[in-house]
Amino acid sequence: MRLVLAIFTATAILAGLIAVPASAAGGPQGRARELSTGKELFESSCSSCHGLDGSGGLGPNIQHMPATLGDEATAKIIKGGVPGTGMPAFAGFTDAQISQIVAHLRTLGDAAMGVVSTGDPDKGKAVYDANSCASCHMVNGVGGNLGPDLTTIGSLRPSDFIRLEIQNPGGNLPKSPVTGIAVGKWTEYLIFRAVTKDGQVIEGMREGESTLEIVLEDSKGNYHSLHKADLQSLEKEPGKSFMPSQSSLSSVDLNNLAAYLGSLKAAP
């Protein structure tokens, strides 16, 4: 699964680089050089906290920072740091180096956004309602909470990716955005099969886990707080999801639904 994600990201990054306008920074070769320097600077100085693809680690996801804050504000943060956080001031960088990093960040943002779906968001909203998606998903505080909150899903995932997910739920489970320096991102919505010592089988999504405990939420929304010591087995079921596959939807409905979800974005 990680490999699939990696390939997707790599392909998307390539697509993002190719899509860079040739007019910027002295033609395609000059631009490519700038980006290559920006990439190196980013990977050597920023990625240990923000991840190689800028999607976050010890520090937050900054893939969309230039798009949402603007290049100048992003450059200011790199130069001055963020007081009171782990983000130091990179005062040693020249302005040219910082703008190269910002340019590289923009390619990461483009890659993460992907291609805009061709569906109709308004018609997609009707598909969303007709298929009772809100029984498990929340948008702007309305809906259930068994599945991911979709309020800003359009900012997090490209429409094409969303369309794939609707057809194959569980195929690419998201990783938690909050991580420490210690551990890479944890898989969210991962389903476990627990068997207690007296033979009871509980299948549920991981809501919380520690060395000694695990809390699972079953498909009916019931929580099970389990001591690992009381279990005879506990197995991950990667690829599995409580979300029913919507592959029976027509391709038009699927496109529209993906377009609707792709339009749900964080407030600017």
Partner: protein, 522 residues
Amino acid sequence: MSALKHVLALALVMVASSGWASAQDVPYQRILNADKTPQDWLTYGGDYQSHRFSGLTQINKSNVAKLRPVWIFQRSQLNGEFFEATPVVADGLMYIVEPPSTVTALDARTGMKIWSWSPKMPKDVKYIGLHANNRGVAILDDMVYVGTLDCHLAALDAKTGALRWIVEVEKNSDNHAISGNPLAIDGKIIMGTGGGDRDARGLLDAYDAKTGKRLWRVWTVPNKGEEGADTWGDAVPNGGDVWNGGSYDPELNLLYYGTGNPSPAFGGQTRPGDNLNTCSLLAIDANTGQIKWHFQFTPHDIHDWDATQIPVLIDSTVGGKPRKLVAMANRNGFYYVLDRVTGEFIAGAPYISQNWAKGLDEKGRPILLPSYYPAATGTLTNPSTSGANNWTAPSYDPENKLFYESARELSAVFTPTGSNFQSGDDAYGAIRALDSLTGKQKWQFRMLAPGWVSTLATAGGLVFSGDDEGDFFALNADTGKLLWSFPLSGLDPRDSPVTYSVGGKQYVVISSINIYAAFGLP
């Protein structure tokens, strides 16, 4: 003013009941014989050997299941950084450091704050490659010593927190910063700096404990033209910073400190060669600062594997002969045993499932696999940049001769310019008991995630540590069986538990994010 009077009045009352009258008197002889006063915790590592082993037995295998919280100290100022300091405890007073560099004295019986001292910290303080926190103080005679984030060394009155002297160790504007602990030996305070990830040149200093006058400085990497410079190609040697704690052998009068990675951390094409003395253990003459010997764990490091883990001094018998040894569970995934008189390699073995070296040769040098050099498209390597261990400390039980380590089984995809951690679901951590002479694993206690908590061993037959979800626990030192746990919660706590006793009652204290919590028997 009235609040101050209140505190002073309180202190006077407490002196009568808990013996604080001697809190301002911790002479060198007392630290030298730290094992004779297990009620205190006088240095970062518990003693000069960095054993983190306590002779206290009130809390033991038979009763640890009854351990319960006694007090919790909470920070009043939150700034996004965590407690990481090993408390130093003397005569019922506990000294901690609140991030970034505030020294606070607590009543070790109640967790009540007695005094605090904060340096004036510049707004643009630089600490690249480090966090803005601190691993703890040193105590000697009537003073406590702390290294500050902006790279000063301060001496405070141990009883009142009043500043006695403060000196600049090195320029913070040159990327030197301090998060590590000072070490107090006879009349001297030993202090290194961090910042090697951003070209700060590694150093270790000794200061006169009374005046703050610098007595010597040793640079860990050579100048151009000096011995070892030929291990850097045409590069200017940089990095090798001494950013964590060290150990001391009073008989040999040698200090043992590990050095950080070369700079720049990744790639390494610009610095062909072994890059001495980065990723090394140095034995340093405490009188002169002269390097007596060095042992390099990871020649030409390109994975950010600093060798700044705590060196543990062990006296044991090898091949029928008594030997003075030093052991380190290195960030690169290997456990090493060296002769601490000569630096000779004696034994070594991986303590995690590393995949970058075939093993160690007869001199302890790693036999590299081709995967040591990351491909442009990325190479999955164990350990990750954060290492098989990072800065947290192991413990050593001189009775059963086991070495207790929090081991991190976490890989990362390395490229020539950076790295990305493996998914959390593919990683785990474990407290591992190693045979101290061979590194062979005797038992392990498996944890959900790679931890950032030091271990503490006690004569009560216990090993205390914690996991990455904030569980604080006690294990049977002989078997690794879980005997007690308490969920302190919190994401990624970075702690170092210690134990002490006041008024005949034993306490075990640990930090977690923004609290220190003390536990005792009912």
